[in-house]
């Protein structure tokens, strides 16, 4: 879903009030959430496209049939603001003809329309082949025959009665208001991608992907001064079912605020957040300068995403994103040297498409490649990238790394980020151990504002909660904090990573890239980590 569409549907933006569509049910949503399309029918439809493209001269064809279901439950304060069920069903066919890619998509799934889409894809490829400098080179891929993969969820969130969801959100809102919030918007965003892939390599792959994102956004206002502060939830989108909201005691990390590991207590977080929004209003405005930063995984995931995930996307490195998302400073010569230092010796970054509960987990990518795991940065050295079938040869690989994804049946699949995670420290180390060693520092929890240049050198990040550390102790809350750094210098300044017992996932539904822009859902794991001597700025301004 495009960012603007999400804002429109979710009612979070200015257009919110354009769609005040509250509703709730006492029974399971009568929507067709639980319906799936018969696999035998999908195979028949896919074969229509494969045969039509082949007959028109395609040398390779793949077909994706997708049913994409979303549910949004959105509330504010004591009202249900919006419940939206969206559904999109259609077919996209991608071909190589005359050495060039072509793609066409249709939501009319009769045999004639499918054959016509396949023919259009071939015609586009042939027409555009005159613009080619070299033909597509596709890494070989064995066909898997008829296979399937299902996300290992415990409780399908689409089967949970709407009333239960609404009650949860209204309870969450009540807790936040009681503890001091002036306004709260809370939401549940559920995703089910039912996707079917078939290719001329002989694969017919049926997959069922589930994702969930519970979140809230709190505002606290000082009416006299007119100042306001916000505090967003510390939840993260996950590749899980409704079990993400069934927290257990062992899922909580107690500290200056409660942090969540694998499961989420939305009620407790909202209660804390209502009070913290008020604390933020009274907090000390940060003195700009160099600080040692202790970054919580609920914050660090976004820094990992922007400064290690994006620059190791091979399409950026090669220039395919030059017009939009940008290129990368991690050029091939740096990788070829086998000694380009990207991080201290502690820094190990791993790419992964299989991690349980992660957003990127699937059995096979969107060009029929079985997914796996590989090193990106090993002991502080750049060792690999993220590639698709038509890029594998550039890295001297015989097979793709399985990094191909399309956000809809109507979108062209291309290279997208797998889960990219910082490995935990090997020595036993807790969050407190990390804080203890800091003389002048800031402990940052939760993600905030984020921005990075088109080659991924210069970044700036905010957060949700900022705690000042003096001589190894947390002494109070700060506000107006953002840090700026050069990616390489930042990762080289990593001097401590908590052990595996602190490892947690963060992530996003809205990783954007491509033209037209597409959203990717991706997780980033880490333990709490320390970075020394980072430049902190003060973001307060008066109008």
């Amino acid at each position: 879903m495009k960012r603007r569409d999400f804002i429109y549907l979710s009612g979070l933006g200015a257009a919110a009030t354009m769609l005040p569509i509250p509703m709730m049910g006492n029974a399971i949503d009568p929507g067709r959430a639980l319906e799936t399309v018969d696999v035998a029918l999908k195979k028949q439809l896919a074969d229509v496209a494969l045969n039509a493209a082949r007959s028109k001269g395609a040398t390779y064809t793949d077909v994706r049939i997708g049913r994409y279901l979303n549910q949004f439950v959105i509330t504010r304060e004591d009202k249900v603001q919006n419940i939206v069920n969206t559904e999109s069903y259609g077919l996209g066919v991608r071909v190589i003809a005359n050495g060039s890619w072509g793609f066409a998509a249709t939501d009319k799934l009769d045999k004639d329309s499918i054959a016509k889409a396949a023919e259009q894809a071939v015609a586009i490829a042939k027409e555009n082949s005159r613009l080619l400098t070299e033909p597509v080179r596709l890494a070989s891929q064995k066909g898997y025959g008829e296979v399937s993969w299902k996300a290992p969820i415990e409780k399908n969130a689409f089967e949970v009665p709407i009333k239960e969801k609404v009650d949860l959100l209204l309870d969450v809102n009540g807790a936040a208001m009681k503890s001091g919030a002036d306004y709260i918007t809370s939401l549940l965003f559920l995703v089910n991608e039912q996707k079917y892939f078939a290719s001329t390599d002989g694969s017919y792959i049926d997959q069922d992907v589930h994702r969930i994102w519970p979140a809230f956004f709190i505002t606290k206002i000082d009416k006299v001064s007119g100042k306001f502060e916000t505090r967003n939830s510390l939840s993260t989108p996950m590749g899980m079912g409704y079990e993400y909201l069934n927290f257990r005691p062992q899922d909580k990390i107690k500290g200056v605020t409660t942090l969540y590991k694998g499961r989420y207590d939305m009620f407790e977080d909202a209660k804390a957040a209502g009070a913290q929004a008020g604390e933020k209003l009274k907090a000390k405005s940060v003195e700009p300068g160099k600080y040692d930063l202790i970054l919580d995984p609920s914050h660090l995931w976004l820094t990992i995403h922007e400064s290690t995930g994006h620059p190791t996307e091979l399409d950026r490195v090669l220039g395919y994103e030059a017009n939009f998302a940008g290129t990368s400073f991690l050029t091939l010569d740096k990788w070829e040297s086998k000694k380009f230092n990207y991080g201290s010796k502690l820094v190990n970054i791993v790419a992964d498409k299989t991690q349980l509960g992660s957003l990127g987990a699937v059995g096979y990518d969107d060009e029929g490649v079985q997914c796996g795991q590989w090193d990106i940065i090993k002991d502080g050295i750049l060792v690999n990238y993220q590639a698709t079938r038509d890029q594998a040869h550039i890295l001297g690989l015989n097979a793709s790394q399985g990094c191909c994804y399309a956000d809809n049946w109507s979108s062209v699949q291309f290279q997208r980020m797998p889960n990219i995670s910082l490995q935990p420290g090997k020595e036993k180390k807790s969050i407190d151990d990390l804080i203890k060693g800091v003389e002048k520092g800031i402990y940052i929890i939760g993600d905030g504002s984020f921005s990075i240049d088109q080659q991924r050198y210069n970044f700036q990040f905010g957060g949700q909660l900022f705690y000042e550390i003096k001589n190894g102790k947390i002494v109070g809350m700060l506000r107006d904090v953002a840090y700026q750094a050069n990616s390489q210098e930042f990762w080289n300044s990593c001097v401590g990573i908590a052990d595996a017992s602190d490892y947690r996932l963060g992530g996003a539904f809205g990783d954007g890239k491509g033209q037209p822009p597409q959203s990717n859902a991706v997780s980033h794991g880490s333990s709490t980590a320390r970075f020394n001597g980072v430049n902190v700025i003060n973001t307060a301004r008066n109008l």
Binding site: T17, M18, P22, G25, T106, Q454, Q484, Q515
Partner: protein, 444 residues
């Protein structure tokens, strides 16, 4: 074809409404035929043609509302989606903010549809890209670009007799040209309803010139500078104001338009008096739909006049509560400019920085509308009325409200495209003083 004529759309909507048993029913229908070519490394990369449609049915019993959507259009699917929305409405609690659907409205005819754009062929698309590639290849530079066109329609009808229909076409083009050694980069973007206005060769020539001229960039100290922002750079800053005009946010005290004591900036002078911003669906250079998604007519609205905040946008609920006209938010925005060309603005600048494009814009503080982001694809130092040399890119931290208070000069208005939202605007290049660059970036 996904594009239904007015009569076909009306017939389909009538059929959907005929299945309704609710107190009120409203149906929105959209369809799009879109196509694109993407290229990079001086070669085509991906290309697509997509046809899609969507139907949204809203059913209401009293103040209880249910909504369901579908993209299948056989009779059984149409009846099913109506029944589903009714079942949801029956389960819904009453919504105190529910507002009854609108009755029939009068809409002006729009000028958003251009037959030449709807008739684009695969050959014309590849010709437009070939022309762009040729410019870059001739200059021994490397092009990456994107050409897309869309023909679409939207229609709505409800049980109170409202009916609205619009067709539109659009084509957006953007091009980045880089030197072979990757040390220089230039950019241009164009957007039109009418593809015959699109000159990909000329736009690519501008991007190529910028790439070649930006290759030997020098680092200058971050700090406050007089800057000239080209329209594409102005767009990504000002649209944060356009998106933030919602009255409810301001009234609730959580917007840059809120004030101490629970009041708002409505009617107050907030920026330089030369700033005039409005929207007008009938503007010949930026036509937009004459009705909004909930059926309200879109009319000409002044948002900022002589620096004064003139209007907020309202939901129908909030307008009713406040007893004011429910003005919908704009689909595009127009800022009045001056008569000078970009070159004339540069010629009149003693010391300053020329910015081609801004990138990765994010809110830092909603209270002051402080934004951060970076310059990109053509940043130059100006001295004594001339571009002296290319400079390394900067990160900025600046509020567009503060920026519009530091206005020096406005140039001639042109149509441009936001790289962040893909929305088209009519904006001038602007010259402002004391624009805050907070750090240097090594990115090219």
């Amino acid at each position: 074809m996904s594009i239904l004529t007015k009569d076909e759309a009306q017939a389909l909507l009538k059929k959907v409404l005929s299945y309704s048993k609710a107190d009120e029913c409203e149906v929105n229908l959209t369809g799009n035929d879109s196509a694109n070519i993407r290229y990079a490394r001086n070669s085509v990369s991906t290309s697509a043609k997509v046809s899609s449609s969507q139907l949204v049915v809203s059913s209401a019993y009293g103040k209880k509302l249910g909504v369901a959507t579908i993209n299948e259009f056989d009779d059984a699917s149409l009846e099913k989606v109506v029944r589903r929305s009714e079942e949801l409405a029956q389960l819904a609690p009453e919504n105190p903010e529910y507002v009854l659907f609108l009755g029939p409205q009068n809409y002006a005819g729009s000028a958003t549809y251009v037959p030449a754009t709807a008739a684009i062929t695969p050959r014309l698309r590849s010709d437009l890209v070939a022309a762009s590639l040729q410019v870059a290849r001739d200059a021994k530079a490397v092009a990456a670009g994107f050409l897309e066109d869309n023909t679409g329609y939207s229609a709505m009808a409800n049980s109170k007799g409202l009916f609205a229909y619009n067709t539109s076409t659009n084509t957006n083009f953007s091009i980045t040209v880089r030197t072979e050694d990757g040390r220089g980069s230039g950019y241009a973007t164009r957007g039109y309803n009418d593809v015959t206005k699109l000159d990909t060769r000329k736009a690519t020539q501008i991007a190529t010139d910028k790439a070649l001229k930006s290759a030997e960039a020098k680092a200058i100290e971050p700090g406050k500078y007089t800057v000239i922002l080209e329209p594409a750079a102005v767009a990504v800053l000002l649209e944060r104001i356009f998106f933030g005009l919602d009255a409810r946010q301001a009234d609730e005290g959580r917007s840059f338009l809120s004030k101490a004591g629970g009041t708002t900036r409505l009617g107050e002078k907030m920026v330089d008096e030369r700033v005039n911003i409005y929207s007008d669906p009938l503007h010949p250079e930026l036509p937009t739909s004459t009705w909004s998604g909930d059926g309200r007519p879109q009319e000409k609205v002044s948002w900022i006049e002589k620096g004064v905040i003139k209007n907020f946008s309202y939901s129908r609920y909030w307008a009713e509560k406040k007893g004011v006209k429910a003005v919908p938010g704009p689909d595009g925005a127009i800022m009045e400019g001056g008569t000078k060309s970009l070159e004339e603005l540069i010629a009149g600048t003693k010391k300053g920085v020329l910015v081609t494009r801004l990138w990765y814009i994010r809110d830092v503080d909603p209270q002051s509308l402080l934004l951060t982001g970076l310059t990109r694809d053509g940043t130059f130092y100006i001295e004594n009325g001339k571009i002296q040399y290319p400079i390394k890119n900067f990160r900025f931290n600046e509020s567009p409200i503060i920026m519009l208070n530091n206005l020096e000069e406005l140039g001639k208005v042109e149509r441009t495209v936001s790289v962040e939202s893909n929305v088209n605007y009519l904006l001038p290049p602007i010259k402002v003083r004391d624009f805050t660059f907070s750090s240097l970036s090594d990115a090219v």
